[in-house]
Symmetry: C7
């Protein structure tokens, strides 16, 4: 079974912040000690525009992303801690 | 008698979170202990756009969905606990 | 004398929640003990859109409807307790 | 001297709620004991739309109207208590 | 030196509420004892619309106007107490 | 080095309120004792409209302006106290 | 590894406020003692407009910028303290 996010939503698996990857380290949030980094698992078909079309999502499956503190809905799925974010809460891609 | 949701609304029957289905388990919200999973029973004709048309709903009858905490209006109907959600509160389809 | 609702408004007569009708029962809100079911008595000509046209109302006279808790303005009219709702506060039609 | 309301505004003379008129009685608001019925004295040229045009007002001089609790600005004018309402605060016409 | 209001703004000289003019009297606000009547001294070129045009102002220099309680910015200019209002805060013209 | 304001922003040097200039005096705000008058030093290219164009700014370099209380961001630049305002916070030009 | 900001976001490296550069000094915020100056490291492809296009960003890599107090998300990246701002929070370019 898979989680298929709707519209502006994106499913993200949180990455351990201390895990060094290709030299780049994003330290966890000082206050919450929670990582704000994650790997995109699946992407919705984008937020709806006022004319009924949808904006093309800016992230894709596999992207390593940085998101806002406290953003999203935590979901415990198949013994993994996932996060369902609105694409607006994703600040940047780490490449 | 049936409940026919209007515009952006969707009628959902909450699913017991612990019920394992095809391997996927979404644990209930840690704070409220309430399941955030449900089965879509019926779907409105979509939210109205600024030009008077309606956006096509993203879910359909029978979909197993994941929704935001605290979303929707609880309705006790024919001895079932139903939830009338706005489609915006549905984060993902479990497929 | 009649109450003719304007624009997005709808006049509703609250139905007793415990009254069984064709098998469907919507229990009253647990907190307020107030019924959230009603019968539509009259309908305005719809909410105005940004281009000056009006959206076609989704309910019609005689519809049995389900509305949000605390929605609307209570009016005591000809010894009846009526409710003037915005159409947005009507979640579903019971059919 | 007359009060000429601007844009979306409407000047209303509050009617005594207990005054029976053609059989219809709207009782005053239970909390404030204030009547929510009035007679329209004059009407602005309508709220402005996003394209610069104005929406045609839904009420006209002489209409007997029902408005929201606490709506509008009270004005003491020529020893009369008048109310300047936004047309949005007028829920219905009593006809 | 003159005050030239920008966009949606209007410069108004507050009128003493008790001053009878052509029979019409608007009593001051009961709570603040402040007059809500004034004379328009100058008018901006109107609020901007979403297409970049400006809406034509509804008041003109010399108009006697009625405005909302607490509206606007008080300015002490050349020993006069003036008020810079947004046109939206002007409810009616007294004619 | 110069401060070049972006989009809707305007850089203003606060003027001493008591300084009489061509007969016009705007007294400082009674509560904060702070002057609300200033001289425009530079102007952004205007706020963005919903179609992606920019509205033409209403003030220009050298304008003497009156702004809202508490508006803007204070900046200490080259030993001058400057204010970066949004153009919306400028109420009027003093001419 | 690089941080690639999305949509309206901009990555900024905070500059020490006391560092004199070409004569211009922006003192830090009096309350927080934090510098509000920074150097733009990378720029997203701009905020989305209501028609689905994106507005062209107003800053570019290398710009020295002034931003609002408390704006943005702090990120510790490769032992540098970076800030991910929304372009709206950038008030001016220092040139």
């Amino acid at each position: 079974m898979k989680i298929i996010p709707l519209g502006p939503h994106v499913v993200v698996r949180r990455l351990e912040a201390e895990k060094k990857t290709n030299g780049g380290i994003v330290l966890p949030d000082a206050a919450t000690k929670e990582s704000r980094e994650g790997r995109v698992l699946s992407v919705g078909d984008g937020p709806i525009l006022s004319d009924g079309h949808r904006a093309i999502p800016q992230v894709k499956e596999g992207d390593r992303v940085l998101f806002s503190n406290y953003a999203g809905t935590h979901v415990q799925f198949n013994s993994e801690e996932l996060l369902i974010l609105s694409e607006d809460d994703i600040l940047a891609v780490l490449n």
